[in-house]
Amino acid sequence: MEAQEDLIPTTVAEPASVLRWRTMLAVPGAAAATFGVHLLIAKSEPPLESHSYRLLFGEVIAVSIVLALMRRFFPRLRQWMARMWPVFTAAILFLCVWDVITLGFRLLPLPYFPGPSSVLRSLINDRVLLLDSTWHSLVLLLSGYTVGVIAGLISGICIGWSSPIRYWGMPILKVVGPIPATAWIPLAMVLSPSAIVSSAALIALAVWFPVTMLTASGISNTRASYLDVARTLGAGRGYLIFRVAIPAAIPNIFIGLFMGLGASFLTLVVAESVGVKSGLGWYVSWAQGWAEYAKVFAALIIMAAFFSTIMTLLFKVRDRVLVWQKGVIKW
């Protein structure tokens, strides 16, 4: 469809504005439909149960209409809306389908699969504990990740640069690295008095392996001619390592950082649901223990937002650091 329209630009102009209006109306339309469907389904439910859910859709409809009216004056807003509105519409329709499947036809076993309205209610009612859990997860994640990254960079640079260290270090890395960090949990609990410290150490271990591996390969694959040029420019060892080999390895290092971040999420959640008495992982297993599955879903939603925000931040950092690699000029 789009490709065809691109081929004939003259005929696009007229339908494009119609299309744009259709896109603009999609969000309030979908919200209204979801709202209506919910009213039909939730007739038998106590009104308190879905009050906030209805409020949410009232707000979505209002905000989307206001934005649709304002977009004429803000070109950036217009671009953003054109890009994001189809996704938002799909998300709202997803809520509608979820509502119909769970609350409407009760197709899924009920205590385990609550409807979106009760998840939203848990999200709001339990916000203090959820926020506190998120904070604890963040502290634990960041402390483990930072230690793991620093250790991984140091060992990766040493292994990548020096062949004696590579000779002795690689076997250790090859044997110890692939063990999932979570497999160390029984040992870690015995070794450390504090569950927090041992969890942070496990996260660090999970991050350390991919960061070391990718840093080492990046450093040792530095183009030999860069090093040759630097030598003939009078570079000493410090310059060769820190100003040639490490910058050349940065794209690789970032791949390691991303892999390490994924591993750290996994280890964090497992460690929290096994040993640590705080954080989102703990919250999930605690809510499960009370069979409050609406809270489980609420925590999953928070986790999704939390982890993807951290991932996005790392992407932003990478884009800043690797401007030289991109096709566009940025400064």
């Binding site: 860069y226 040759d228 040029v229 030598r231 003939t232 009078g234 310059y239 100003r243 040639v244």
Partner: protein, 261 residues
Amino acid sequence: MVAVAEAEACSLIVRDLRKSFPAPDDPFSRRQVLDGVSFSLAAGELVSLIGPSGCGKSTLLRLIAGLEPSDAGDLLVGSDPITAPNAERGLVFQDPNLFPWLTVRRNIQAGLVARGVLREKKEEVDEFMRLVGLEIFANVYPHHLSGGMAQRAALARALINHPKVLLLDEPLGALDAFTRMRMQDEVLRLWQARRTTMLLVTHDIDEAIYMSDRIMIMTPRPGRIARTIPIALARPRQRSSEDFLRLRSDILNFLHFAGKA
């Protein structure tokens, strides 16, 4: 500035240089790449080294740069033996090899940073950027440069250290014919401005005749300097003058025979 550079420019002496590498097909035998190479460069001279590929031209340059040890023979800059790479012998490759993570300006000043003298010589960076005409590209990353501009930046980066000898390993080999001819004039201009001793490896006979004071022809297996031809033509040279063409056919003939022998 020019006077200082002239006093610093110093002759290179290569005496009976030998180098062999393990043969790729047979680990127990060695292949003699350079077998008794001898020549010397006077201060401020521009000499070309031509020969078929695989005759050891690049190996010779790497040995002079100090990037690899020789098996036997003497390598001297002035009276100092060459033991390791340093800033007094600059090297420019066919690929400009600019550091992609540094802007043009930071690439050009890399040698000053590496030697820890950036603070004293800050204004030279501007001077060299002007010399190669890249002032307006100072803050651009290398992947935005054309091949010719990137090679000019690489030349400035090598020259900023005021090397006693500049080694050029087919520096214009990857450029298209027109850019290459423009860049030949550019290199000559830099050479005349700075009077740096230059050793130019090329496989382009026209380029060698157009640019150099002398041409050394190498033959392969084992690599030796088979013949040295002084080029007495006045500068700037005419690429299609009679003398130019006569030299060209002489060299072609020689290489032809050398190839058959």
